[in-house]
Symmetry: C2
Subunit: 261 residues, 2 copies
DNA sequence: AGATGTGAACCAATTCACAGCA
DNA sequence: TGCTGTGAATTGGTTCACATCT
């Protein structure tokens, strides 16, 4: 039997931003306030900015491919769907990579952003749950080109195990493994990032096993709130939620129309 | 040939929040500041709150199904992965639906949230681009139960046209139609919400056609910045972006580890 | 000249702490 | 007594406007 109290126990999640958590865990470091203040100028990039850097990176990559050597903040901002002030403030957190009176060198800037985001490194990723969504993720072209390498695909359905799926853009395939192999796959592949694309009911169990095996960042597509230990980053993408937010605004539009009439 | 100027022209996007835009468009209404202030107390729910209501709705639905009649803010917050203060502030924007000293009636609250989100209405949706992702979206169970009805599936690949896909949870199927039929499908289905799951290159064209056919809310999975006229809501879900944000934090963790060592 | 980089002002969101009610 | 609902304080993010540099 469920009770409210029991249910309440089951979840305590920090959904993102482990900065404070990490600071708290750092043992006996008195200079934390100072070092954080230093962070803000030299390393600590605002979360909102981090969330936009991938967009700038993609747009800049297109510009470089199109052979454009220089952009102004105005142009880059327009192509990224933000205001130029916001763009300049964002880039200022990385350093002074522009030239006054001229603009930004696209090649140089795209590299600086890539470095800041860690895209110059190799990130082994495992994907758990190979339904339509898992499939879509596995052969999503955008991963390989940005340093993400699919080192493992796992599914609970025995009929799916053994299937070979194209992962990455250059025709490599990865074989679907059984759930039992989860720990092996994570450890052998050296994965620190895990993607959960299972049904909601299975998500927490998978999450626990991933973390136990060494994963420290999780992207969760299952419509469930995940509980993890501190130090593990969890990001959530919920398809239904996104539609519901749209529906809310849609409803407001209709209400407005009625009020006006 | 591309020039920076040309490229810069191609995109100006308001990514969300058409409040100010709408206010600006409202013709000759001098009381706008006042009416907005009124909005904030009576109807205007903060965007951050709206984004969390779907989570509360899902968790509450589970509680109701589990036969739990009452929850405290503490319990509901824990199960939703937020703090209790945040939860109470969020709910306070909807009205006073709790009982001091007791908590919230789950059945009553779930209905109030559903009403606020417009989930008690019927939202016809079209999905464009039936690759793996489009497939996953089409037969995602969470839609039907929340008032979303898939009235159209469209794909540019002629070999895919005619395929019947399970959409919604009760085994109904919807047939994939050709791109030419886009306008017909949108208008006949009465769709106001469109989902774009095409490759990046096709996204803007599809977006324009959807908007021209009457769609006013778009959920975009293509890694491209969309330009739309004011009054159209665009939300973006970018799989690569999410992973890149995780990679950033992951890199930071490793940097920290090195500093400590 | 012309565009960046940035302090200052502004606005939104979160957290605190407690008054008010069942 | 216990939990909601909410002003007040704080933190984080955006916008403005201009000093600064090529």
């Amino acid at each position: 039997m469920w009770t409210a109290g029991h249910f309440g126990l089951c979840a305590f999640v920090h959904n993102y931003l482990p900065w404070q958590v990490l600071a708290t865990l750092t043992p006996g470091l008195i200079s934390v306030p100072l070092s954080r203040a230093n962070d803000v100028t030299r390393r600590g990039i605002p979360e909102a900015t981090v969330a936009r850097l991938p967009i700038y990176h993609r747009v800049l990559t297109q510009l470089v491919e199109a052979g454009i050597a220089t952009v102004s903040s105005e142009e880059l901002a327009a192509a990224s769907g933000v205001t130029s002030a916001k763009l300049r403030k964002d880039l200022s957190h990385l350093g002074s990579y522009g030239t006054r009176g001229v603009g930004y060198d696209t090649t140089y800037l795209v590299f600086q952003i890539a470095r800041e985001l860690g895209l110059t490194l190799d990130w082994p990723v495992v994907i758990v749950g190979i339904g339509n969504l898992g499939h879509a993720l596995a052969n999503y072209g955008g991963f390989a080109s940005r340093g993400f390498r699919v080192v493992g695909l796992l599914d609970a359905d025995p009929t799916r195990v053994g299937e070979k799926i194209a992962a990455g853009r250059d025709g490599e395939t990865v074989e679907v493994r059984a759930m039992n192999d989860l720990e092996t796959v994570v450890i052998e592949g050296g994965a620190v990032i895990g993607v959960i694309a299972t049904p909601a009911g299975a998500a927490q169990g998978v999450c626990d096993r991933l973390v136990a095996a060494g994963v420290t960042s999780i992207l969760n597509f299952a419509p469930a709130v995940l509980t993890t230990s501190a130090g593990v980053d969890v990001r959530k993408v919920d398809l239904a939620t996104e539609l519901q937010i749209l529906a809310f605004h849609e409803q407001r539009k209709h209400a407005d129309r009625q009020v006006r009439a």
